[in-house]
């Protein structure tokens, strides 16, 4: 079941389009914002609310890289693996974080604190290497800087 809060937020988005199904991606983002990820249950809830089939909504949900169809940790670390960040050494940053947290790309720490994912070019190539944690952007990364940044996310 969608919560009243989720429904209100989705209806606000529905108003921006000529018909409700156009708000499918917005609805997925809203539900994910509330629940952390998009479960099978959430797919069904959205389908019912927007008069779509479950398969339609799942097709959309699985297409977009920022919709999570599996549970994620409290903080999501997105390391840019774009070409400029590769030239400027994102691999060293990745290996360091991976070792420090004992997880690889696609995995979540056992305390559920971090999920580590690669992300396509973040558009900050002149300050590479770059990464995001949740909604925050970081650039000109060094190993020292990474330690300090990670500490802030509990």
């Amino acid at each position: 079941m969608l919560s009243e809060e989720e429904k209100t937020e989705i209806l606000k988005e529905v108003k921006q389009y000529p018909y409700p199904s156009a708000a499918c991606i917005d609805a997925l983002k809203i539900v994910q914002e509330h629940r952390g990820w998009v479960s099978d249950e959430a797919v069904k809830d959205i389908a019912q609310f927007l008069h779509l089939s479950n398969e339609d909504v799942d097709g959309v949900a699985t297409f977009y890289s920022r919709i999570y169809r599996k549970p994620v940790g409290r903080n999501i670390i997105l390391i840019c693996d774009g070409i400029s960040c590769m030239i400027m050494g994102y691999e060293t940053i990745y290996e360091y974080i991976s070792k420090k947290l004992s997880i690889q790309f696609g995995q979540t720490t056992s305390d559920n604190r971090y999920t580590l994912l690669p992300v396509s070019c973040l558009g900050d190539c002149d300050h590479a290497p770059a990464m995001m944690i949740n909604n925050d952007h970081f650039n000109k990364l060094t190993l020292d800087k990474v330690d300090e940044i990670l500490e802030k996310y509990k």
Binding site: Y64, R66, I67, S84, M88, C121, D124, C125, D126
Partner: protein, 425 residues
């Protein structure tokens, strides 16, 4: 002092100008002039005359695109869409404009929407651009309050609403018709063309999709005229352009320069040349989906037709530099992996060809390459080339690969002969 109309009021270290501050320096003057003194057709003709070519990478005439939109009364509703889904690897120019001067973009969207008589505009924004999202919402609410948006704008009877749609990822959303599907809440799969978006676009209605940098020009052009715009460039294409450099250079960054400036000037004067200890081997002039250029091409002028004559594309105008300490095979593997991941999966050459290419490049780089791999890669550049695929995604991916195979042939052969990457000890 050279004019820098797009970036003169942008200071990345301080917040963008508020509406009042922007008005004080003449912002929104083009909006007032267009809506109060010009007909929609006159605006379109002016933009056509300015020879503004689309800054998203394809370089199509903006005024011509608008001119294809049906203008009869029964053609409403119509839509103007700002493509702010910047995701071309190595490209960071729209972020600068979105974060730095959202009012400049909004003014442009108002004039463009007026020209095609759209009453609704969408800004399709990259999810990762959080600061841009905040600044855009702030600027939009100021514009509504000041009466530049909403009903009966400036008392002219013209109505316009601008909505920000923040995307949920995927490079293919930058493709015009895939973007429209995404705005309709669907999987972002490109559409068959024709019909083109200008007649059958968003929700089946006439729609124009323009890039952030393109739209940021519109209010300026209306205010100052087509001749002023043309005079800004060193070539017959009008205007300045945001050029960027990333990689192992002394001063990576972004500069607004006249179209027609040489690659050498951008690289040496603005980016400061290569970092100490690094040598130049080649560059992609306008993002990951453009052909390599090498030392011989440094005097090529950065403009759509001159870069095309040199065998590449100006694309987004943001260059990625390949240095002598970065393995060209690893460089290409990174790019092709990106394109393989971002393929929408709809058509076969793209869905199958790109992962195949990535696997072969990985094999070569890790010392498992065979000479016949080079023939397969060459075949793939044709198999994924223009005419064989549904959209420009795979042909774009084939560009750096075909030129990379040509210019760095010896490096490929060395990997295969030594059965290891010569850049790894």
């Amino acid at each position: 002092m050279m004019e820098r109309p797009l970036t003169q009021y942008i200071n990345p270290l301080s917040p963008p100008l508020t509406l009042k501050e922007y008005q004080k320096v003449g912002g929104y003057a083009g909006v007032v002039k267009a809506l109060k003194e010009m007909t929609p057709g006159e605006v379109t003709n002016l933009v056509k005359a300015s020879n503004l070519l689309g800054r998203g990478g394809a370089g199509f005439s903006t005024g011509m695109k608008w001119g294809m939109v049906p203008m009869e009364n029964d053609s409403k509703p119509k839509y103007l869409i700002c493509n702010a889904d910047e995701m071309e690897p190595g490209t960071f120019k729209d972020r600068y404009l979105l974060e730095g001067n959202p009012h400049q973009l909004i003014a442009g969207i108002i004039v463009a929407s007026y020209a095609i008589q759209a009453q609704k505009a969408y800004i399709f924004l990259r999810w990762a651009y959080k600061k841009a999202e905040t600044e855009l919402h702030k600027a939009l609410s100021e514009a509504y309050q000041a009466g530049y948006l909403g009903k009966n704008i400036l008392g002219t009877g013209y109505n316009l609403e601008i909505v920000v749609h923040t995307s949920a990822g995927r490079y293919i959303c930058g493709e015009e018709t895939a973007l429209l599907n995404s705005l309709e809440g669907k999987r972002a799969i490109p559409r068959t063309k024709p019909p083109f978006a200008v007649t059958t676009g968003l929700f089946g209605r006439p729609s124009v999709v323009n890039n952030v940098e393109t739209l940021s020009w519109i209010s300026h052009i209306v205010e100052k005229g087509a001749d002023w715009f043309k005079g800004l460039s060193l070539t017959e294409t009008g205007g300045t352009k945001l050029f960027g450099v990333s990689g192992k250079v002394k001063n990576p960054g972004l500069w607004e320069l006249p179209l027609g400036v040489t690659i050498r000037e951008i690289l040496e004067e603005h980016a400061g040349g290569m970092l100490e200890g690094y040598g130049f081997r080649g560059l992609l002039p306008g993002g990951a989906s453009t052909d390599f250029l090498i030392e011989d091409h440094l005097d090529v002028k950065m403009d759509f037709h001159t870069v095309a004559e040199a065998g590449s594309r100006m694309g987004t105008g943001t260059m990625i530099i390949l240095d002598n300490k970065t393995c060209p095979v690893a460089f290409l593997r990174n790019i092709e992996r990106f394109f393989a991941l971002e393929s929408c999966g709809f058509c076969t050459p793209c869905r199958e060809g790109l992962p195949w290419v990535e696997k072969i490049l990985t094999a070569i780089e890790s010392g498992k390459g065979r000479m016949e791999h080079l023939d397969i890669l060459k075949f793939q550049t044709r198999y994924m080339g223009p005419g064989n695929t549904f959209c420009a995604h795979a042909p774009g991916a084939a560009e750096p690969l075909q030129s990379g195979l040509n210019y760095f042939h010896d490096d490929f052969v060395n990997h295969i002969k030594q059965q290891k990457c010569p850049w790894k000890s």
